[in-house]
């Protein structure tokens, strides 16, 4: 120890030189980007790879937190989306039917709940009595009829879909205007309906369009489906035929609620007649 100390003491100039020089160079290299870059370049073979490995390891360990934060951010952003706000103003557009002087109003609504595989199917739409929807209104979409409104709350409405045991709408063959009524088929296939009670005079063809008749909730001529088979059971005095529905009920997104402005008047009139009888 003593020898070591005397050795260091004898050459203290050199050791002091080393200490101060290294300090100065460290300060220099740490504070000058050019020299730092040179250093890192020359050492990138080893240190660069070590740093990359370390980074990967740390990144792997932090995955859980990253995931959590991303999920939180997703939820937050989803909350900011337009679709998560309830749109209070209903957009309505009016159709004036000049021939029949009948005015229909359409209220656009979004389907927020839907089912197709129950014996009785309903769908919920995001417009209610505040937007002018009332019980008994018809619901259509761009491809055809959907159903009718059966319950209404302030902001929502429940629609009894065509795929329901009790749903029955007036319909007709597009070409020979023969009246019948459309129902869901008994076998619970969401793509098939049945057109009943068509008069025997009709000469339906496979592939003929079936449209609404204008006697019920819907304007005349809204498509329902195409005749797909003429050989169905039942009938007797009338013709029954199978109809392939044009609406894919499992993919409904936006629907139009039909507000028949004269519907109440018509109903009241017809009700009066019943009372008189």
């Amino acid at each position: 120890m003593r020898t070591l100390w005397s050795f260091i003491n004898r050459y203290n100039a050199f050791f002091l030189f080393l200490i101060f020089e290294v300090t100065a160079l460290i300060i220099y290299v740490k504070n000058n980007s050019y020299q730092r870059a040179e250093f890192i370049n020359s050492a990138s073979g080893v240190i660069g790879r070590l740093n990359t490995e370390k980074d990967q390891l740390y990144g792997y360990l932090a995955l859980k937190e990253v995931n959590d934060s991303l999920a939180r951010e997703n939820a937050h952003l989803r909350g900011l989306l337009k679709s998560s706000y309830y749109i209070d103003t209903a957009s309505k557009h009016k159709v004036t039917d000049t021939i029949y002087k009948q005015e229909y109003e359409y209220i656009i609504a979004r389907v927020i709940n839907n089912s197709v595989n129950q014996p009785n199917n309903y769908l919920t739409i995001n417009k209610g009595s505040e937007q002018g929807i009332a019980k008994g209104m018809g619901v259509i979409c761009s491809k055809g009829i959907v159903g009718k409104v059966i319950y209404v709350s302030d902001h929502f409405a429940l629609v009894q879909s065509l795929l329901h045991k009790d749903s029955q709408f007036s319909a007709m063959l597009a070409n020979d205007k023969e009246i019948g009524s459309i129902q869901w088929n008994d076998d619970l296939d969401p793509h098939k309906g049945i057109l009943k009670d068509v008069s025997n005079n009709a000469q339906p063809k496979v592939g003929e369009w079936v449209v609404t008749s204008g006697y019920s909730l819907f304007p005349e001529g809204i498509p329902i489906g195409k005749v797909s088979s003429l050989h169905t059971k039942g009938g007797g005095y009338s013709l029954n035929m199978e109809v392939t529905l044009s609406v894919d009920f499992s993919k409904l997104e936006y629907v139009n609620v039909v507000d028949n402005k004269f519907g109440k008047e018509q109903e009241a009139l017809e009700g009066q007649k019943k009372k008189d009888e």
């Binding site: 100039a13 030189f17 101060f20 300090t23 100065a24 300060i27 740490k30 040179e38």
Partner: protein, 172 residues
């Protein structure tokens, strides 16, 4: 002793001020620059302890660096200079020959010794300064030209200052 401290303190302040406020902006044809602030380190007394010498060299370099925005560059060069100074004095001067804490000035040591002393230390200091500054072999010609021209410039300034403060009666 206290007189030596005061003289060196004043010398330090004056040299650093001249260096950073006057000579910093001075370059001949953009090539040579001069660093006569190392005169402070050259003129420190013979009897100074090594650790104090190194510390002073380090501090001097850092104060210059603070103004030149090159932290560590001048400090490193000055520490090398201090080391070479110790070697040079060990080789050429016998410590027993002095008392009264003399300083290695031109008037004390004479022109031959002082010239060799100044040239050696300046060359070492400037060489390391420019090498560390450029930090690469590219532009070596420019670096060496800068080093030689600057060394010449600095040595001339140091000799001029030595003759200005020359005191004949101190001559041995």
């Amino acid at each position: 002793m206290s007189r030596a401290i005061i003289i060196n303190l004043v010398r330090f302040v004056v040299l650093v001020f001249i260096q950073v406020f006057l000579l910093r902006n001075l370059a001949l044809y953009n090539l040579p620059v001069c660093y006569p602030y190392i005169l402070f380190l050259l003129l420190l007394p013979f009897g100074i302890p090594n650790i104090l010498l190194f510390s002073l060299a380090f501090i001097t370099g850092l104060s210059i660096d603070a103004f030149y925005d090159t932290p560590g560059l001048h400090a490193a060069s000055c520490v090398i200079l201090a080391f070479v100074r110790i070697l040079f004095i060990n080789i050429t001067v016998s410590k027993e020959g002095f008392d009264n804490e003399p300083e290695p000035t031109l008037s004390v040591m004479g022109i031959r010794w002082f010239l060799a002393y100044t040239v050696t230390l300046t060359l070492v200091h400037h060489f390391f300064l420019f090498v560390i500054e450029s930090f690469s072999l590219s532009g070596l010609q420019y670096t060496i030209g800068r080093f030689l021209a600057s060394s010449f410039f600095t040595i001339i300034l140091i000799l001029i200052s030595g003759t200005i403060f020359f005191r004949r009666k101190e001559r041995k």
